[in-house]
Symmetry: C2
Subunit: 641 residues, 2 copies
């Protein structure tokens, strides 16, 4: 047995024993050290770079590591085997989960405003925000030798008097009964009950002392493949009490849903994947929100999750193989009667776990929740809703019909498959312009620090600018020379955005032809999905009146540049609307309003699902779209380069 | 810190550390060594005798320990303090829990027959034994690209087709959803579902492979203050699959309910008392039954408990102080919506925990369940049902009315408060006759071994025989001399049943005047309760047509002797019926039949509860009954001594 020490930039360390021959990435997983390995450990993506500070590791040099870097101790964790004691430095950039956690406190007024706008919009659409949960204050008759009714019947009697619901239809579960006797006596028989009413029945979820002032809380979770975002909400006022986000701990089992399903099918895999998201991601997020808000977990009476079909299955620890394998029949699209306790989260024991309904293997609850928020179901305008995540999902239609489809965009929008790609954390180039004359870039970097990599919106800008400046051609190949344009021994071109000597980083921040090619495929997938879906309805892009863009990539997205590279259809820029994290906003609405929940169920039932792989023209559309902006330039009349 | 080793007759040892001054009984409790201490550790009962084999203990001599015994190492655990390392021998007789466990395999054909008779009797009374739980075999359509309905909807569709219940009214909880996908595929879409129907709704409790042959099982538990008895039952056939009994682990916190309530009110007490009965008593009983029957705990779909009001509260971990304190208002009489998982027992996650309803602080679910079994509600004959436990409970009435009351008989019927008393385990004298001439006793001993003590039925016989032979008078004082009659220095008489030199035991087995006095009080409590209840109705004992006796004491009980000592009313002997453990039998019936459950609820609602302490004549009745057979000999015309 050897001692392996992981050291983080924060100075924190984690130690674990390992045996000779074990893969370092596996050892890290056992130690709960999350190293970002989007390709799931095949030496392909080069993201799992760590540095051997002392000791031994049996690791080959690799195309992602230069000789100089190798000499400085850099290794790929997925290619390194234990061969002795070792001290390993894990840069924050390799540890998606940790670096994400640093963002968790960002809760800007703009973000809060999204939720407030949403309530207004839904309310304008006639949706009622009255909850089925409410407080009920009661003062009970004190017992005496003449009135010796036991505590639970005494409560039922008072509740029957106050509500008119007969006591036979009022349920007191164990969790409420357990402390009833003490609470009644300690509060001098004046109590505040938390009840829910459903079909003329009452469930008594809590009996609190009359002077208790705790809010009644709900938890809305956007459960993404890459990252999670959650809010604690006052269920009576809709106020956001706390907000947090974090990486999905499952990322160490692969960046995409397919790799995770495969991993979950191995012995113990379902538990492992479930633990990774619950114990490593959701629980720490909740803990942080409890700290900042003072919310008592026991006062959380409902949780709504909006996630894709695979994430929903893995959250529940379900067998997920059928999601990815023909005939693509998952365990559920819609499932009721779940409780938060079923996934071992400690909230109120009666708290329901509500899952926004899936409508196909690749169009999940994140999209049905998002479709609610897009409001495209409430207007006669033909609208397109695009959620840019690890998968790209689209919904098209209006108040008369809705059609959805999903395409595999890959991780490029989130910085995966890009040599210097990273998520939108500190150091990420998120916007860029290039001077056509001098070819010098001007960049905006998240956190205002030195550039360390490029996130999705930055890549869109860079590619659009390189194209506009004639540095690359429509195929994404470098066609202009300059001081920042490099070529390797195979002739592959690259553009240097920031020199290592200027940033003090581990290498130059560049974008190369392979990166550009990967991104062109991603944007091509989105555009060809749009085209194919429209064609299946007998339409073309000219029918689109509005485009709603959602997803993590979107916040810094330059719509003009996205059109320039042929990612979105060429319609007037004022018709593009960025609606933020629509999946989370939808979960928020479902938390507060049973009418919103019903609406989402209705959308899920009525929405048509188009399986793109079954559409004969899709592959041709995709190939035609893998060009800047498109092989058919007439589709992008506004792009004039 | 000192090392304390407890050594059992079996040779097994348990070690624990303790500090100087700790009470040995507390140390034993911490080590989970159950030493029988009915008086709850006040040096009064003398039952917690242990032997110091090596090392040190700071323990005074006590009236329960002779100098000779003291020299041989005998100490009272409740009076001994740690003063060094010590090795302590715990005789089986001191360890009620362990010695009880030895009985656990006794499951005689006679006992089994009781359940079969019961089903017949209830069935004759028009009670339906059709369960709301049933198996439903389904063969689902296999999914295809043309039929991609998800697994849960596929199941719902098939179930709707098979039952006619619309799928909106069929619930699939998480525990069923969790493995649904794998089960459907591994069983080639042929499944056996376990469902329950209630108000036109179906709950799908399990989906098993079609070839699964596991029975559908229920667990009936008689939860006594002193001991527990449980059966696993095939819910379809009523067949007993396994049977076990054991001591109540709470006994180390006191023999009676009052001491236990007091203990449960101390910090951490509710959890301690709950753990003592669940972890130390119920779980080992279940484990044993699983071993002998091969039942899979996950196939237990329902549990019914019949226990007294205090035991029910402590099982659920509820605040129990109000049970014993004026105005005697417990948390519940009847409570629904409980699940086995609420008390952390691992059975089917949807298994309900049904508690036979209490009707007062001292008349609990054991009596309502027992009243069902007595069948006194089904006949015009005026009948008295007596359950002899640590408390004595009585129900009087017929098919037109029922009245109940409870009296504190104390532990005498189970061998407590009696110097050589013990429970009905190996070595207990359970029956006795005495030759009037020679005064020589002839005894029946449980297990056919040398006599070690006397159990309840033995004490009845001995007192009746001593009285019949003129050895004691009506006050229980010794009035005749003989070789077996001894007097101590204070003049207190005693009768030697077995000499130490003949038995090889630790001392002579005797019954003395204090024992007789304690027992006379216990029987006086029962008889005066009977009288008081009858008088409150304007009756006297002559109205009683039948007497049903239940409880652990009863199996060897000699009814003639019980009448002789004035414990039961003087009616023709053929009208006495011993009905065994009626509490357990009632739980069994409730498990199998929803009509039986409804009947018990109806009995609980209609039964009047008489609080004896509020009855003006009760104390006079009690004093009058503390005589053999009674101060008013005319009440016992058949007793001619």
């Amino acid at each position: 047995m050897f001692n392996i020490t992981f050291r983080f930039e924060s100075g924190e360390t984690v130690e674990i024993s390992a045996i000779a021959g074990e893969k370092l990435l596996d050892v890290a997983r056992k130690a709960n050290v999350a190293i970002d390995a989007p390709c799931s450990g095949n030496g392909v993506c080069g993201k799992c770079r760590v540095r051997l500070v002392a000791g031994y590791l049996d690791a080959p040099i690799n195309r992602h590591i230069s000789q100089e870097e190798y000499d400085a101790g850099w290794r790929l964790a997925c290619m390194a085997q234990i061969s002795g004691d070792a001290e390993i430095e894990v840069p924050d950039i390799a540890s998606a989960y940790r670096s994400r956690m640093k963002m968790a406190d960002l809760s800007s007024p703009e973000e809060i405003a999204i939720f407030e706008d949403l309530r207004q919009k839904l309310s304008d659409a006639g949706m009622n925000f009255r909850s089925d949960l409410s407080f009920l204050r009661l003062e009970l008759d004190k017992p005496s030798l003449e009135d010796t009714m036991p505590d639970n019947e005494r409560l039922l009697r008072a509740m029957e008097d106050a509500t008119g619901v007969p006591m036979q239809a009022i349920m007191i579960p164990y969790s409420t009964l357990k402390n009833l006797s003490l609470t009644l006596r300690e509060s001098n028989w004046k109590v505040k009950c938390v009840i829910s009413r459903d079909n003329d029945r009452i469930l008594v979820r809590d009996v609190l002392p009359g002077d208790n002032t705790d809010p009644m809380v709900g938890f809305a979770l956007d459960l993404g493949t890459t990252s999670l975002a959650g809010v604690l909400v006052d269920l009576q006022t809709g106020k956001i009490l706390a907000k947090a986000s974090g990486g999905n701990g499952q990322i160490r089992y692969g960046a995409d849903v397919i790799n995770r399903i495969v991993e979950s099918g191995k012995p113990g895999g379902r538990k492992r994947l479930q633990d990774a998201v619950i114990k490593e991601s959701i629980i720490p997020m909740l803990a942080q929100m409890y700290r900042t808000s003072g919310v008592n977990p026991r006062r959380i009476y409902r949780m709504v999750v909006a996630g894709n079909t695979t994430m929903n299955h893995l959250l529940l620890g379900l067998h997920a193989d059928p999601v990815r394998m023909e005939p693509f029949v998952p365990s559920f699209f819609r499932t009721d009667y779940l409780y938060v306790r079923d996934i071992d989260l400690k909230m109120n024991p009666q708290a329901e776990l509500m899952i926004s309904p899936n409508i196909g293997s690749y169009v999940g609850g994140d999209i049905t929740a998002g479709a609610l928020v897009s409001m495209i179901w409430n207007s006669p305008e033909m609208s397109l809703f695009i959620d840019l995540g690890t998968n790209g999902e689209l919904v098209f239609g209006n108040n008369e019909f809705l059609m959805s489809c999903a395409c595999s965009a890959g991780p490029a929008f989130e910085g995966g498959d890009i040599s210097c790609g990273m998520r939108a954390t500190d150091g990420a180039i998120e916007a860029c312009t290039i001077d056509k004359e001098t070819m010098e870039p001007t960049m905006t970097v998240v956190g205002g620090v030195a550039p360390a990599g490029i996130c999705g919106s930055g890549i869109i800008d860079i590619i659009a600018e390189l194209f506009r400046c004639g540095i690359i051609n429509g195929k994404g190949k470098f066609v202009r020379e300059g001081p920042r344009v490099l070529h390797d021994q195979h002739g592959m071109g690259a553009f240097v955005l920031a020199w290592q000597k200027d940033t003090g980083g581990v290498k130059d921040v560049v974008i190369n032809e392979v990166d550009i090619d990967n991104f062109i495929r991603a944007k091509g997938a989105i555009f060809s999905a749009t085209q194919t879906m429209l064609h299946s309805l007998g339409f073309d892009a000219s029918v689109i009146e509005r485009v709603y863009v959602a997803g993590g990539i979107g916040s810094g997205i330059n719509m003009k540049n996205a059109v320039t590279i042929g990612m979105f259809p060429d319609i007037p820029l004022e018709e593009f609307h960025y609606i933020g994290n629509s999946s989370q906003a939808g979960a928020y609405a479902m938390l507060l309003s049973s009418e919103a929940r019903e609406k989402v169920m209705e959308l899920a039932t009525s929405m048509t699902y188009l399986e793109l792989s079954n559409e004969p023209g899709y592959m041709d559309q995709f190939v035609a779209a893998c060009f800047l902006p498109h092989t058919d330039a007439s589709l992008f009349p506004s792009v004039d380069i």
